[in-house]
Symmetry: C2
Subunit: 330 residues, 2 copies
DNA sequence: GTGAAAGCGCTAACAG
DNA sequence: CTGTTAGCGCTTTCAC
């Protein structure tokens, strides 16, 4: 067991007394060779501590085993969940995930796309449908499978896997309306950045309008979503808008913050105030009063997206279902 | 702006009317060339939609710009936090993160290490000090910077960045003892897998012993940590062990579960029962009663680790401080 | 300041 | 079943 670094296929072949290509075939269990040759190559490789050089392998062969994954953030568990689903499927198929984090910046995304593409990945998974014009052009011209995730409200480039945030927002509104709430507020986070949250809010308002209603008040923090932002946001909207009977939050993090505020202030839920979130996080499910929310298939979207990397079908949209969870906060 | 895919440096050079090596120098702003040459190369590259092939570049040059990062899980926000810190620093330095998730399996880790090493990364960041013998040998023989993260209780291979979980456990125990608690229970998750949680518990018991105490009872779920596991674990220990006055949880997820149980059952905190966690998550900080816990420098560990990738100093241990947070649950 | 030539380590035909 | 021969696309001496 040598140092391993610097040992090449040539060394292994020489040590085993065979040609390079034979050693290569054995090591990749591809093509044919006698079991005797096989044994000696494998033994030589082990003795030398050979670690194949995938960089060279990728360059020599046509396709790479790298897959790029681009997400806007890692601070919200939603994206690690997505990554987790994708990575687990990719790993089993022999792919390596190369990640990029945009910080919700489309220009940063453009740079990341260019950078990831330079590794000649087998495919690219990217959260969201919105891109800069240049990013869009790069993705279209890359000649690899592009999977856009988590959003089906808009046109995709190649494959799209997700659900309709607009419909999720509509469903949330219809639920509150059906429960009898009429003075409904909205507490959200930076919508200019989180485009999917914006689409939910849009769907939410549309459904309210269909029922002849509109949001009775809204507070939109100009920060990323967080429990703290939700707590502070609810405090503000309660100050600014009287007689709210329900509040729709941009996601569960925000909603849990609101829930905590109600607990602190002794605001009765749902009698005095109803709360509704989005995502179906564990913390929302396990709270003393489970939060009413929408469970989104994040891990599943990651898994399904990863599976599509090796598909050769035509562009398509895969819609996964979200599920409305009637908790104890409505 | 062509298809981009398939355009090579040779094409760009021909289009610009210069030699390949000149085009290469311009594109990497390395070496010398006239500003006129520069302009024509850049223009040709843009016109052709050239995307450099880093695979080829890496093979031709010596060093790669890939960095492997291995974590046990993505389900617990702790590791995304670590990744986030590392990735942000790496990105700024022109590196790409290639991730691997072990699912807390050391044999899986070994396979991942071998797989990541085959991409000839510039360095490897790996969570934890424990590895299989073969993994250890591969890491030592890789000839690149190896950074082991989040744990300083043990011997490292090259660089180590983290804090002492044992000391964190001790500090937690001393805090509870100083507050006057004597009948202290432990609610944890699978310690055979989460070695750092095991070290915390070990330090915790050691500090109790120094005060002539021992845990009054313990419940260890054989599942990964979660809010639900913490809630159920607390329910069980309250059944099994009478007169507990405090419970130490393996981490904040578990502790928040316990906190939720207390809220549900109307168990007064901290008078009737004190709770102590570990990690300093946002949800713990924002709860109606902030959880007493230890804030761990996860993002900072990721950042510091990433910075060390390009260092050329001798092996070293970088210890970052954790901070005990006196919340309202003790 | 610039180009020609020689690989980086491997895979993929192709003969044998 | 096995070895030889060309490259993959780029970087890197090294002359010019």
């Amino acid at each position: 067991m040598g140092s391993g670094a610097g040992v090449t296929l040539t060394d292994v072949a020489r040590e085993a007394g065979v040609g390079e290509s034979t050693a290569s075939r054995v090591l990749r269990s591809h093509g044919s060779f006698s079991s005797k040759t096989r044994a000696s190559v494998l033994e030589a490789a082990a003795r030398l501590g050979y670690v194949p050089n995938r960089i060279a392998g990728t360059l020599a062969s046509t396709g790479s085993k790298l897959v790029g994954i681009i997400v806007p953030s890692l601070a919200n568990i939603v994206f690690p969940d997505l990554l987790r689903g994708a990575n687990s499927v990719l790993g089993k198929a022999g792919f390596q995930s190369v990640i990029g984090v945009t910080d919700y910046d489309l220009v940063g995304e453009e740079a990341l796309i260019s950078s990831l593409l330079s590794w000649r990945p087998a495919g690219l998974l990217v959260a969201g449908l919105e891109h800069t014009a240049r990013a869009d052009a790069m993705l279209r011209g890359a000649g690899i499978r592009i999977i856009e995730m988590l959003d089906t409200d808009g046109a995709g480039i190649d494959m799209v896997v997700g659900f309709s945030n607009r419909e999720a927002g509509r469903a949330s509104a219809r639920h509150l309306i059906a429960r009898g709430y009429r003075r409904i507020g909205y507490v959200g986070h930076d919508l200019a950045l989180d485009l999917r949250a914006a689409k939910r809010f849009e769907g939410f308002r549309a459904a309210l309008a269909e029922a002849g209603l509109q949001v009775a008040g809204q507070v939109i923090a100009s920060v990323p979503s967080s429990i703290e932002a939700g707590r502070d946001g609810l405090a503000r909207i309660l100050d600014e808008t009287r007689d709210l009977d329900a509040v729709y939050f941009s996601n569960d993090d925000m909603a849990i913050g609101g829930y905590f505020l109600c607990l602190s202030r002794g605001i009765g839920i749902p009698d005095r105030l109803a709360l509704f979130g989005h995502n179906g996080l564990e913390v929302a499910r396990c709270a003393p009063q489970p939060l009413s929310t929408i469970r989104t298939p994040r891990v599943e979207v990651g898994e399904a997206s990863a599976r599509l990397i090796s598909s050769d079908g035509p562009p398509a949209v895969v819609t996964l279902d979200f599920e409305l969870i009637e908790g104890a906060t409505t």
